[in-house]
């Protein structure tokens, strides 16, 4: 079974995010980059499939040369090899990313293509399904379970508290939802070896962008909360607050 996991390095949500001067991106220096948390589920699922039925797991990322760090993080988890589709003018446009990934993958054979359901940086959630669409293969988004059969797979999705079960022939693409599995911690030994591991680099095929990022802005500051002290007058104070200050009634 050949499994390809598409991964992205995203700013750690605990980092202090600062918007660049031109308002078109974020300052890279002050940020720690991590493997996108949803991609962790995808990588874990790929490794589990390999461990149960055998095969090979390749991690793929697209971006600046520096994005190779996310591939090394994958090696530390047990991924066999990695490919960086390099784009020196990487713009976070999901269509461009999907087009470049698809144009690389169309010449490569694989059985399962895995993605995280979205990147926690911009939350587009489009690259996985777009890539599958361009490649002309079936895709199921936000899966919570994956069972591998002989020529097809059964996967689960959560739908309004119910479970939707879908059968899909291979090759197919899936995007991972939280709960698909519990990702492992890296192995220190694999992490050490990962530093020396060869990464294949190819240039991204460029397509014209159809999205123009106009401006990034900080969210407005939240007004300070108000505490109504717990005493016999609390209820009437709360009603008064809701009527006259918050004006919810």
């Amino acid at each position: 079974m050949k499994i390809i996991v598409c991964v992205k390095d995203v700013p750690d949500t605990e980092s202090n995010i600062r918007i660049t001067h031109d308002g078109k991106g974020i300052e890279q220096e002050s940020v720690t980059f991590i493997l996108n948390p949803y991609d962790e589920f995808a990588v874990e699922e790929a490794l589990r499939i390999k461990e149960s039925i055998g095969g090979e797991v390749m991690a793929l990322t697209l971006g600046l040369q520096s994005a190779e760090r996310v591939l090394r993080a994958c090696f530390g988890l047990g991924v066999d090899n990695g490919i960086l589709i390099r784009d020196d003018n990487f713009t976070n446009d999901p269509f461009l990313t999907a087009s470049a990934i698809a144009s690389y993958l169309k010449n490569i054979s694989f059985d399962i293509l895995l993605f995280g359901k979205k990147g926690v940086d911009l939350n587009y959630g489009q690259v996985g399904v777009m890539t599958a669409e361009i490649l002309g293969i079936p895709s199921v988004s936000a899966i919570t379970k994956l069972e591998i059969g002989k020529s097809k797979v059964l996967c689960h999705r959560e739908a309004e508290g119910n479970v939707e079960k879908l059968e899909v022939p291979l090759p197919a693409a899936f995007t991972a939802e939280k709960g698909l599995n519990e990702p492992r911690y890296p192995s220190l030994k694999l992490k050490m070896q990962a530093k020396k591991k060869e990464i294949q680099v190819v240039e991204a095929q460029k397509t014209d962008s159809r999205i123009n990022l106009v401006k990034m802005e900080y969210p407005p500051k939240r007004p300070e909360g108000k505490i109504i002290e717990d005493n016999p007058e609390a209820a009437s104070k709360l009603v008064d607050f809701l009527h006259n200050e918050a004006k919810v009634f």
Partner: protein, 387 residues
């Protein structure tokens, strides 16, 4: 403070910290209450290669030393001193094999310890032989290709859970301390059994039991370093392991400090957070300063050992002594800052005070550490005089 860790050491520390925060901290109180051994955590540590940091790469370890062991022990102890002990006590059982084992013994035992597949333990203490190792009653007599071991070891950390035991037993009573020998005993050997689990004040998730030898047959190939070397092996072992106790103490103290700072910011009395009161501020400042001083000492000693310094019994004792006294003081003050809440089991802080206490007692009481330090000082002075 920046201790100029290598990238590799930073990765070790960060991974241990992540596992401590995500996996150990949420279950620490539960394991403490139940007094159960945390195998689920040991398995996670094993898969991440944190069990074999100090073992040579040749035997499947990461090729680090005492310093790397200290880093991981400290980080795990921040979340739970008891769970961290399973790894540190394994090192105490593994060091004699690393330091005095034959090639064959190393090949047979170290790879499984390095992988975290098996835990180890060191069995020296007896009911009447604590600080006074010379009073040891456990014996080993040679019979053909075997040694027959008889006696009972007490308060053995990891007992029952570990597969590999390094046991000190008397092979020649007439020679006193020079008549003790060290053996590698497997859990599966005939004649070894375990007493009841001790009900302890702290480090309750750690397994502490008697190890009982009743005509236990140990192959002669499992004698470590030759007959009569038991005492030296034990001393060398403690010299290597004591900074690890120091690291455990720093970890517990650091965890308590972090919780105390957080609590002081949130707890309001007289209309303001108690962190705004100078009385609390001074306590926090002292706690942090003491921890940093202890850490600097433990790290320096660990690095000196790894860089091949000859004779470090004194420094090793200092690291254990100072760090454990700091941990006791810091955790007691942390409970004080929490006030009445600190005394309640619902809050994690009283556990840290209970866990800290053992670091002043085991691997040689702090009084024994002071003996070691003083004896070294007097010996050094005497040797200077001769010149």
């Amino acid at each position: 403070m920046d201790y100029f860790l290598t990238d590799e050491q930073k990765e070790i520390r960060n991974l241990a910290r992540q596992i401590a925060d995500e996996k150990i901290a949420p279950v620490a109180i539960e394991y403490d209450e139940k007094g159960e051994f945390a195998w689920e955590i040991v398995e996670i540590l094993a898969k991440s290669d944190l069990c074999g940091l100090y073992i040579d790469e040749k035997y499947g370890g990461l090729g680090g030393g005492v310093f790397e062991l200290c880093l991981v022990t400290e980080e795990l102890s921040r979340a739970c001193g008891g769970i961290a002990l399973s790894i540190a006590a394994t090192a105490l059982g593994a060091f004699p094999i690393i330091l005095s084992g034959s090639e064959d013994q190393k090949e047979r035992y170290l790879p499984d310890i390095a992988k975290g597949k098996k835990l180890a333990a060191f069995a020296i203490t007896e009911a009447d032989a604590g600080s006074d190792i010379g009073a040891m009653q456990t014996t080993a007599r040679r019979e053909g290709d075997f040694y027959i071991v008889n006696g009972t070891k007490q308060w053995i950390t990891n007992a029952g859970e570990a597969e590999i035991y390094v046991v000190i037993a008397v092979t020649d009573k007439s020679k006193g301390p020079r008549g003790a020998s060290a053996f590698i005993v497997e859990k599966g050997f005939p004649g070894i059994s375990f007493g009841k689990k001790e009900n302890k004040m702290g480090i309750r998730s750690s397994a502490t039991r008697e190890v009982i030898f009743d005509d236990c047959k140990v192959p002669k190939e499992n004698l470590l370093g030759g007959e009569g070397k038991g005492f030296i092996i034990a001393i060398k072992n403690f010299d290597h392991s004591r900074p690890g106790v120091g690291a455990q103490a720093i970890g517990i103290a650091q965890g308590a400090l972090e919780k105390a700072v957080q609590y002081a910011k949130e707890r309001e009395q007289f209309g303001s957070p108690i962190s705004s009161f100078q009385g609390i501020q001074f306590m926090l400042a002292d706690m942090a300063t003491q921890i940093e001083a202890a850490r600097a000492l433990v790290y320096s000693v660990a690095k000196a050992i790894d860089s091949g310094q000859k004779g470090f019994a004194k420094e090793s004792a200092m690291a254990k002594l100072f760090a454990s006294d700091v941990a006791m003081k810091v955790t007691t003050d942390a409970v004080q800052i929490f006030g009445g809440y600190g005394y309640m089991k619902e809050y994690p802080i009283e556990k840290m005070m209970r866990d800290a206490k053992i670091t002043q007692i085991y691997e040689g009481t702090n009084q024994i550490q002071r003996n070691i330090i003083a004896q070294a000082l007097i010996k050094e002075a005497a040797s200077k005089k001769k010149k």
